[in-house]
Symmetry: D2
Subunit: 458 residues, 4 copies
C-alpha cells in the first residue's frame, strides 16, 4: 500500500482525529485543505485495509467529504484510480485460476469468484455505510456518467456501480407514495425540476396537475433518499382515451368527478436521478399504480398512456433521404415535404393533407423499423412494449408544442396496459421481439409493408 | 434447461396463470398441490431464464409461496439444488479463464468475475423482488442454518446469502428507533420473545424495562421488515456503574430522574433474526445509541455495559482439570473446589473465600486466554473489544440466577465505551489483538502471569 | 375579594415567582408547602381577577398543581368553594333583573345571561388553558362525582362541568381510531383496565380480541387526551347473530376470514373516563364504526350487539315478590323458583324448564316495564333504543359467568342497528317512548300483556 | 314553533329523507332546490326541537349544506333570524325571574341562567356536531362580520359566536407546529395568501422565508381545521436586533448558521381566519415559540419583534393639524413638512433632517397618546405591550416600501420579549396602563412631555 507509506505523518495524525474531523467536514464547506492532493485514493486503500467497522465509518465519511470538497480534476483522478488501482488483484486471480485448474471443487470456484471481484465493489459498499453515503454515491455516479463518453476507461467502474445500485434499489426496497397538493414543498419542487416530458411552468401549473380530483401523481421513494422521488408518473382520469396533450394540461379546463372517470392516462413518466441511470423501476411503477387506482376507483377500466414519440422525426428524416426506404415511396416523400414548411401545423388544411401518409409512416416506424439490436427504434416504445403494453393508437396532431413538432412532427401515441395481456405481450416481446399493436395501428400500415420486416437502421 | 423440457404441459399452463395463482397462493395455506414435486428448482431455472422483469415477479412469488407450502424434504432438496445446480457455470468459467490467459484486459477480467458468480446469487436477487421477498429469504436462510451442521454441502449457499444480506442490511439502510411503552404491542411482544440475555418474564417485567424514566431501549429496523427489530439494546440510566443485574431488574425498585443519571448501562443486547446471523450491526447500534443519549441527556458521562461472561465456567473447568494451566496453580484449583458445592452462592462466607482467586482467574481468562484463532475466548468480550470498548471491571457475584451461575459462576463484567478511546482500542485489537483493560482489571491478574501470553486453548 | 386582602404578603411574592414555581410545581410531587392552607379558592379568585392571559396561565398551572398536591379535605373544600363562593354574583343579578324589567332590549337580556352565569364557569375555562388543564379538570370532576352522593351542594358545580365538557368533548372534536395489536402498549393497557363488560384477563386475552382477522376494536380519542380512549367498542365478525358470549371470547376458537363475515357483533362498549360521565358519545361511536366497517368489508350486512341485561335479575326479583305483577302470574312465579336453586344453570333440564317463562318475563321487562320517568328499566336498553336500534333477539342462556347469572340469570340480548330504520326508531323512541322490537321478541310476550303498559316500577 | 306548523308536508317528508339527502347535499353543489325559501330558520327550530342526537346530526348537516347553497339574501335572513327568533325565551325568563325573587336558592339561579341563554347558543353547538361543522361555523361568522357594520342587530349573534369559539379554540386545544419547506404545499399556499404584514410575492419569496437555516416559522393549528394555520409567526435568526425589514427579506442575502444567532426576530404575525376575529391566541403563540427556540438553540438570548407602526402616520397628521398638540411644537410641525415632499425618503439629507423630530414624536405617540379607552393608540403596540413585551427601539427609516411610508413614514419598532419581565410588564399594563419602554425610547421623548399624559385622541 504505497500511498500509506508515502504520507506516514499525515496518516498517523489522521487516525487520531478522523472521527471528529470526518464528522465536522460533512457539515462544512471548505474542508478542502484537510486532505493532501492525492489523498482520495489513499483514503480508499485505508478504508479497504481496515478489518473492523469501527474506524471504517469515520474513514468513509472523510473520503466522501473530501471528494465533495475536491477540485473536479481530483475527482476525476479518483474515479480513474477506481478503474485502474481498485480492479481485481491479478496475482490473486492467477492463484485462483491455478487452484481451479487443479481442483474443480466448490471452494476453488468460490475463491475464483472472490478473487475476480474488483476491489472497488467492496470499497463502494463500505462508503455506503457512512451517513449520507448512498446519496453521495448516487451523485458520484452521476458525475462518472458525465465523464464516461470521453473516458471509456471508467466503463468498468460504471458497471460496478450499476451492479450494486441494482441490488440496493431493487423493487423490494422501494416505496410507492402518492404525490399531491398535500405533499411537502421540498419534494414538489423536485417534481417541477425533474419533469422531463411536458415541462412544468410554475407552481400554478404544478397545482393544476396535482390538486384537481381527476389528477393523480405517484412516485417511488427509497428509504435512504427520503426527499427524492426516484421516478414519478403523472396521471389524468378521463372519460375516454385522449389524443392530444394540450387539453389535458389546460389550466382553465373543468375537472370531472374521479368516480365518473373510466380511463387512467399516464401522460408523463420521469426519472429523476441521473446517477441511477440503467437501474429500471419504471415498469414496476406503472403496474403498482394501475393496481392502486383500480382499488381506489373501481369504475376505471382502461389504463393507457399518452406518450411522445421522441425518435420519430429523426427517423423520418433519414427515411425521406434514403433511396432504399421501405416505409416511404416517392409519393409519400413528396407529400411529406409539407413538414418542411414553417407554420404548417397552424394550417388545418396542411395538417389534413399530410395526416394519412404520416400515420402510415408512423405505423411503419413502430412495427417494422428496428435498431441495430433488432429492437424498435423508439426508446419510449421499447419501454412500454417491454412492460407488456400494446401500441393502441396513433394521434396526429397530438402535441403541437415546439418540442412536440421537433421530435415527432406533433405525433403522439397511446400504449394500452391491459392487465390480462401484459404477461403475454411482455413474453412475446422479450423472447421474440413481437410488437403488440391494436388492429387500428396495424391497419395504418400500408398493405405492402405488413408482411416483411425492414432493414435495421444503423 | 432440462427441467423446463421435462414438464412442458405444466409450464405452458403455468405461464398463463402464474400471476393470478402466484398472488392468490401468497395469501393461502394449502396451495401445495399446484406445483409438481420437483417444481422448486424448475421454477428457479424459469426465474433465471426470463429476460424481462414483468413475469419475473410473478414467478418469484410462486416460488416463494411454493417453498412456504412445501414439505421439509422438498425444501431441503431445493436448498441442495441451490448448492449444486445453481453454482457458477463451469464451462463459462473455462472460457473466461482462457480469455484472461490470452488477454489481461479489463473486459476479460470482468467476464471472469461474472462467470464465476454462482447463478444462485442472481436467483436470490430476483426472489427479493417479490412482495415479502426479503422476509421470505431471511426465513429461508434461517432454515438453511439449521440444516448446515448436517449438510456441509450447503456452505456455499450460505456464503451467498451472507454476501447479499450484508449488502441489503448494511448500516446505511437501517433505522434506529426508540422502543418504549408507547411502541406497538406487536413489536413489544417480539422484544419479550427475542430477549436473549436476561429473559423477560411477562408484560409487567417488560413495562418495568421500558416505562420508567431511567430506562431506555433502542432497536435497528429495516424498511423491508417493518415490524421486526433486527437487534435491540436495553439501557439503564444510573448514578454509578452497577456490578450486579438483580437490582437493575427489580420490579420494586424506585426509578431516578433521567436528568440525575450520570451513567448509561447497556445491560442486554439481543439479535432477533437467526436468518441474519453473521451480518453484524451491533457495534453501529451501540455507538448510535451513545450519541442519541448524549444529545438527549448531557449529564451522561459514562457509557458502560453490564455483561454476562458466557464462556467463563466452561473455560475454568478445563483449566482446573488441566495440568498445564498457566492461570491456576494448585492452591487456586483447590480453593475453587467450593464452586462444586451446591448452594455455595447463598453462603456469603463461601462467596468471600473464593472471590479473589476467581477474579484473578477471570482476569487471566480475559487478558491471556486465546482461542485457536488467537482471539479472546469469550464471545461477548470479542464483540465489545472489537467495537473498541475497554474491559472496565469484574463483578463477583453479579448474576446469581441459575443461568448466571451455570455459565460464569455468577461473574459479570463491565465494558466501557469511552468515545475518545474507541477508535484506538478498536485499531489495536483488530490489528494486533491488544485487549484494552482498566488498571483495576490488570491488577487482578496475578503478577507472574502479566508478562506472558498463555498457550491457546484448543 | 377578601381572600386577596387577607394574604397580601403571600401574594405580592407569589406574583413574582408564579411562572417559575407554577411550572416547576407541575413536574413535582410534594410542592404542597408552597401554598397556604386556604390558598386554592384564593388562587381561583386571583385567576378570575386577571384581565390578560399572560399571568393567567401561570396561575392556572399553580392552582392545578396545588390541587393535585393538596390533602383530600382541602380538595373537597375547594369544590365546595366552587359551589358557594363561585356561583353567580347575586347583586349583579339583581341589577340585571331590574334593567330587564325596565327595558326588554337585547342588551339587557345579554347582561342578565352574563350576570346569571356562575363565576366558576369562567374559572373552569381559564383552568383549561394550562398545559394538561383538560386532563386535570376531568380528574377533578371524577373526584367531584365521588363526593356528590354525600355532598348534594356540589350538584350545581357538576352541572357546570357537564355543560363545559359537552362543549369541549362534542363529536366534532373526537377522532375515531382503530385499536389493534399494532396500537401502542400504553393505550392497550388502558383497554385492559377499562373494559367494563367482559373483563380482559391478561395480555393474551387482549390479543385474542384484537389480533385475529375477525376481530375489530375502535375508540374515540380527544386531541387533548391523546393516550386515553374515551370510549371503545369491541367487535366480532361472524357468519350469524351469536346468542352467547362464551364462544366469542374462547381463546382456542378458529378465526374466520374477515371477508367471509356477514355480521358485525358489538359485544362490549366501555366508557373509560368517569370524569366525563353524562357526556355521551356512544351512539356516534357505533354509527361511525358501522360506516367504517361497511366501507372496509362490503360483505357485512348485519350490525348487531350482543348485550348484557344488567337490570333484569333485580327487576325480576321485585316482580316475583310483587302481588300486583302484571308480568308474572302465579304459575310463572312458581316455575321461576328454579332460579333460586344453586347450580341450576349447569343442569340442562332445569335450564330448559325455565326457558319459556323467563323469556316471556324478559319480553315484558323490555316492552312493558317502565321506570319512574316512563323509560325502559334496563340502562343498556335505554342506550341502544335511544340510538335507534331495535331489540332483535332474547338469548337464554347467553352468559353463564358468575356476573351474567347474577345480573340477568344468564340472559343476553341482541340489539340490531338497521341503518335505514335508525332515524325512525330513534324518533319514535325519543318522542313517544316506542320500543322497537322484532316480531320474535313481541311474540315472546304473553298475549294478555301485549296491549297494555305496565305500572311504572318505583 | 310556528315554522314547523306552517310547513307540515315539507317536514313530514323531510324527516324520512333527511339523512340521505343531508349527506348527499354535502358533497354537491346546487342542492339549493331541496329546501324551501324560508327553510333555514325552520331547520334551526327543528334541530333545537330534537331530543336525541341521532337525527340531530342529519338535520345539522342539512342546515349547513343549505346555508352554503343559499343566496346571500337568504343567508342574511338566517343570521337575522338567529338574532330575533333564536334569542332567549322571554316568557321563560319572566318565570325564572319571579322564581328568583321568591327564592334565592341555587336552583332558581341556575334556571335563570339557563332561561337567559340565547337559544342560538345551543343551535350553534348542535351545528358543530355535523362533519365539517366547525369550519362551516367559522365561515358563517366571517360572513356575519361583513354584515355587522350595516346590521347592528347582528351584534348579539356575534357575541355568542365569540363566546363559543373562545371555548372551542382555547389554547389547550391548539397545537403548535413548525412550518418549513417540508410542510405540505396546501398549507404553504395559505401562508402566501394570509401573510398580512409583508406580502409574500411568490413561491421563491416564500422559500426564502422558510428554508434558510436562519429562518423559522410556526403556526397554531386546531384539530378540527387541520389544513388551516389559525395564526403564524415568521422568525429571523440574527446576530443583532435589526432596524429595517428590507435586508431581512432580501432574496440574495447570505444566511448565517442557526447556532451563531443570538437574536430571534419576530418580523411578521398574521391571523388567518377572519371568522375567528376576537379570539386571541397571538400571545400564546409568541411565548410558546420563544420556549421552543430557546430549547433548540441555547445561544439565543434576545427575543424581539421588528414591527410596523400602522397608526403612526394618521395620528401624526392629526397632531400636525391640531393647535393643541402636546407632542409637537411649532418648530417640529414645520420641520415635519418635509414628509409631504414626494420622494423625501430617497434623499438621505432629508431623512437625516427629520429623524430626531420624528423619533421624538414617535416616542410621544407610544408613551403618551391614548385612545378613548385610555390605551395606546397603536394596535400593534397594544398587542405586544398587552403580552408583556417592552418597547425597545424606534427605527427610522425601517420600512421604505410604499405601505411602510404610507402608514408610518417608514418608522418601525422593536418590542422586546424579556422572559423575566413579561409577567410584570403585562400586569402593570393590564392593571394600570403602564407602557414598558427602554431608557432609549424614554430618552427620545422630549423633556417637557415626559411627566404628563396627553389628552386622549378622539
Amino acid at each position: 500500500m504505497a500511498g500509506l507509506e508515502a504520507a506516514p505523518a499525515f496518516f498517523s495524525d489522521l487516525i487520531d482525529t478522523l472521527t471528529e474531523r470526518g464528522r465536522s467536514l460533512l457539515g462544512q464547506k471548505g474542508g478542502r485543505e484537510i486532505v493532501a492532493k492525492d489523498a482520495l485514493p489513499t483514503l480508499g486503500e485505508m478504508l479497504l485495509s481496515r478489518r473492523g467497522e469501527a474506524s471504517g465509518v469515520a474513514i468513509a465519511q472523510t473520503l466522501i467529504a473530501s471528494y465533495a470538497a475536491a477540485e473536479p480534476s481530483e475527482r476525476l483522478a479518483f474515479l480513474q484510480a477506481l478503474a485502474d488501482r481498485f480492479g481485481p488483484d491479478r496475482r490473486r486471480i492467477e492463484h485462483a485460476i491455478e487452484a481451479v485448474r487443479k481442483d474443480q471443487g466448490t471452494e476453488a470456484l468460490e475463491n475464483l469468484h472472490a478473487a475476480a471481484e474488483p476491489r472497488r465493489q467492496e470499497l463502494i459498499r463500505r462508503l455506503n455505510l457512512a451517513p449520507g453515503g448512498t446519496s453521495a454515491l448516487v451523485r458520484m455516479r452521476e458525475e462518472l456518467l458525465e465523464y464516461l463518453p470521453k473516458h471509456p476507461e471508467l466503463k468498468s467502474v460504471d458497471a460496478d456501480f450499476t451492479h450494486l445500485f441494482s441490488s440496493w434499489f431493487n423493487r423490494g426496497f422501494l416505496v410507492l407514495r402518492p404525490i399531491d397538493w398535500t405533499t411537502p414543498a421540498n419534494i414538489l419542487e423536485k417534481i417541477i425540476r425533474y419533469e422531463a416530458v411536458h415541462a412544468i411552468q410554475n407552481w400554478d401549473d404544478l397545482r393544476n396537475r396535482l390538486q384537481p380530483e381527476d389528477r393523480r401523481c405517484y412516485g417511488f421513494f427509497h428509504p435512504q433518499l427520503v426527499d427524492e422521488p426516484l421516478i414519478f408518473v403523472e396521471v389524468a382520469l378521463t372519460r375516454e382515451i385522449p389524443g392530444a396533450i394540450g387539453p389535458l394540461l389546460d389550466l382553465s379546463r373543468t375537472p370531472i368527478a374521479a368516480t365518473e372517470a373510466t380511463t387512467a392516462v399516464f401522460y408523463s413518466i420521469s426519472n429523476t436521478q441521473k446517477g441511477l441511470g440503467g437501474v429500471s423501476f419504471g415498469n414496476f411503477l406503472i403496474k403498482q399504480v394501475v393496481e392502486n387506482l383500480k382499488r381506489e376507483l373501481p369504475s376505471l377500466k382502461t389504463f393507457v398512456t399518452l406518450s411522445p414519440v421522441p425518435g420519430f422525426a429523426r427517423w423520418l428524416e433519414r427515411e425521406r433521404k434514403s433511396e432504399e426506404s421501405s416505409c416511404l415511396d416517392a409519393a409519400a416523400k413528396e407529400a411529406l415535404g409539407i413538414l418542411d414548411e414553417p407554420g404548417w401545423s397552424d394550417d388545418p388544411e396542411k395538417v389534413e393533407s399530410v395526416r394519412a401518409i404520416l400515420l402510415s409512416a408512423a405505423a411503419c416506424y413502430f412495427l417494422k423499423a428496428k435498431d441495430s439490436k433488432g429492437r424498435p427504434v423508439d426508446p419510449v416504445a421499447r419501454f412500454h412494449l417491454g412492460n407488456g403494453a400494446r401500441l393502441e393508437r396513433l394521434n396526429f396532431p397530438g402535441d403541437v408544442s415546439a418540442k412536440g413538432l421537433k421530435q415527432s412532427h406533433g405525433l403522439m401515441v397511446n400504449y394500452l396496459y391491459a392487465l390480462d395481456e401484459i404477461e403475454r405481450n411482455h413474453e412475446a416481446f422479450a423472447e421474440k421481439g413481437v410488437v403488440a399493436a391494436s388492429p387500428l395501428v396495424r391497419k395504418a400500415l400500408r398493405a405492402d409493408l405488413s408482411s416483411a420486416d425492414l432493414v435495421p437502421t444503423p
